[in-house]
């Protein structure tokens, strides 16, 4: 029964999508194969039971907080982006969402926290901006590259940011699958450090076109992406940052895109708005341990 369930789960995702293309969703085929091998033994279920103290220990030892480098946002997030959690930043256009992403990437690079993977959907990744941000940070705090010249230091930091362009949902499935496979095989990436931060700039531009309308496949793909991201974050201690845009909610108000089904997906949601040069940032709910009601800075 377990094998049939695994096959059904794999078969389900390999069927045609709304636009009629048949794509191979490799991660689920892989799951299906392992499920087929473990037909008879129930104990080989891939998860395990944790108890509360193990969970607490895992969170305090393994799951660190990655500061974004922007003070206001770090205060709202309670220190920064939590590893193992999915953080969403939403806001109207040109309110600074991409800047938040670039700042988090450069901060992670400067502090040598690990490799940053940046999935860019709208060609908004700008290496010159990253270089400016890294130059702007305090060089005295960087101890590792103490005797290297400035340009070399900059090069090593920028090498730890890997940028990939994805333009549709299938491309993103491929990239996430490759990431998952390489993490499972423990391959060494970019100088021996593990990936610590995954940024998807404008996941809504990939998901919004497919979720509208009558076909349930669009929503099922959105939920599949969400589950893959959360699984990656939890298993490999990644922190995932995604951005979303706003749509109109009737009567002139705006609300985050991707609808109500997406509301339950991220652990933390932030709304940014900007007013002529000053940044006003409000945090909306869905954070677990911090304050439940909105807070503005």
């Amino acid at each position: 029964m377990a094998a049939a369930g695994g096959g059904g789960g794999g078969g389900g995702r390999a069927t045609t999508s709304g636009c009629g293309l048949k794509r191979r969703y490799a991660p689920h085929d892989q799951e299906e194969e392992t499920m087929n091998q473990d037909q008879s033994s129930k104990e080989d279920w891939c998860g395990r039971l944790w108890n509360g103290m193990d969970l607490l220990k895992d969170v305090t030892e393994n799951k660190h907080v990655l500061p974004t480098g922007l003070e206001g946002i770090d205060t709202l997030l309670g220190g920064g982006l939590c590893q193992g959690q999915l953080t969403e930043v939403t806001g109207p256009s040109s309110s600074g969402k991409t800047q938040v992403c670039l700042h988090s990437a450069s901060h992670a690079a400067v502090k040598h926290m690990g490799v940053v993977m940046y999935l860019d959907t709208s060609n908004s990744f700008s290496p010159s901006r990253i270089a400016t941000i890294i130059d702007g940070t305090n060089d005295l705090s960087d101890q590792r590259g103490f005797d290297l010249p400035h340009k070399e230091r900059l090069k090593t930091m920028m090498r730890s940011i890997v940028c990939k362009s994805v333009f549709d949902i299938f491309g993103m499935f491929e990239v996430l699958h490759q990431l998952e496979v390489s993490l499972l095989n423990d391959k060494v990436k970019s100088g021996g450090r593990k990936i610590c931060l995954l940024i998807i700039d404008s996941i809504s531009s990939l998901l919004a076109p497919i979720i509208g309308g009558k076909y349930p496949q669009g929503r099922s793909m959105m939920i599949s992406v969400a589950m893959i991201l959360k699984k990656l974050a939890y298993k490999h201690n990644l922190s995932v940052l995604v951005t979303n845009h706003m749509v109109s909610a009737g009567n002139g108000a705006v609300k985050p895109a991707l609808g109500e089904s997406w509301k339950a997906v991220p652990h933390v949601r932030l709304v940014i708005s900007r007013e002529h040069g000053s940044n006003i940032c409000t945090a909306t709910v869905l954070k677990h341990t911090l304050l439940v009601f909105p807070l503005a800075i």
């Binding site: 389900g12 129930k42 939920i223 589950m227 009567n251 109500e260 089904s261």
Partner: protein, 362 residues
Amino acid sequence: MAGEAGRDPRAWLAVDETAAAFLSRSLSSRPPITLPPPLHRAPLRPGNVVEIAGPSNSGKSHLLLTAAVQCILPKEWEGIYFGGLGRAVMYLDLDCRFDVLRLAQILRNRIAEGCRSAHLRNGDPENDGTKDEFQCSLENTLFSDCMQRFLYARCCNSPEFIAALKTVQSQSRREVSSAGIYFVMIDSIGAFYWIDRGSQPARENKGRTLQSITESVVHELRKLLQLQPALVLVTKAPIYGEGTTTANDFNRISSKYILADSTGLGYSRQEEERTLSNREYMPSIWQSFVTHRINLQVEEAEVPSVPESKVLPVHTSEWVQPYLKTKEKFSIMDVRLWMVLALSSELPIWHPVMSMSNLTEL
């Protein structure tokens, strides 16, 4: 079978047990459970399945966590009365949004309040502000004891969920040495709804539809409840999609009919939206499995008697099955629930829910 039974038909008519014996046996083996409000209004026993439904951010997961803390706390410990059940909780996380720090915070608050009220009752004036080291280590031992009784498992898709339900009984016996699981919590039963609906039975014997997956889930849960009578608490998020009108569609349709009396129409529109969003999407086999239902909603309101007088979202809870006419209001601040008393009066009075002892006052 007819041959065997034919031998002694009078054995059929012999009484198994009287109703009084039956009642006392079931009360002792499945005692009524008191859960923290707002779940306390309906009588619950092990074997009941409670479904907590509500839109996102209406406090469903928080209710689960407070009920879990209620279960893992002991009834009495080192002379301090906590009023808990002291049994294990099994938490199946399908949403993968569980945060253990929040559970730890709620548990620590409950332990601290229990110790503080015990000190006040004993009349220890010098232990008001400071806690000595002995006290801290006692609290820490209690904390770790309780956390050991909380079992957690994550599932990323429906097959994993079904496999987890199958193995939870045997795996939990390894972890928890005492009587066993008393609460089973499933966070968001509708988490894989879209994935299961989107999958078509492509292959003959491997195809899984939503219907068959739900049947397996119900089957496994029934088996689990037979072996180990437990209370099942399930949260359910509403599903918006084809067939239901979302808020945007509703506004577009009804904007033509906005009358001068916009407040009246606004109220009814909100109510209609709510009934639409509470549309039942789980198959009927699940609906018949659920024995109790409670609906949660959230709206913005003032909380006047709270010291800082912030604008807190007010949550309302409504028991649908069994149907109770009163709606309860509560608000969550600093991971504690504040209940509204005296709903009928003009100004609602807010009262913090501290321990089970002051529940009788509510």
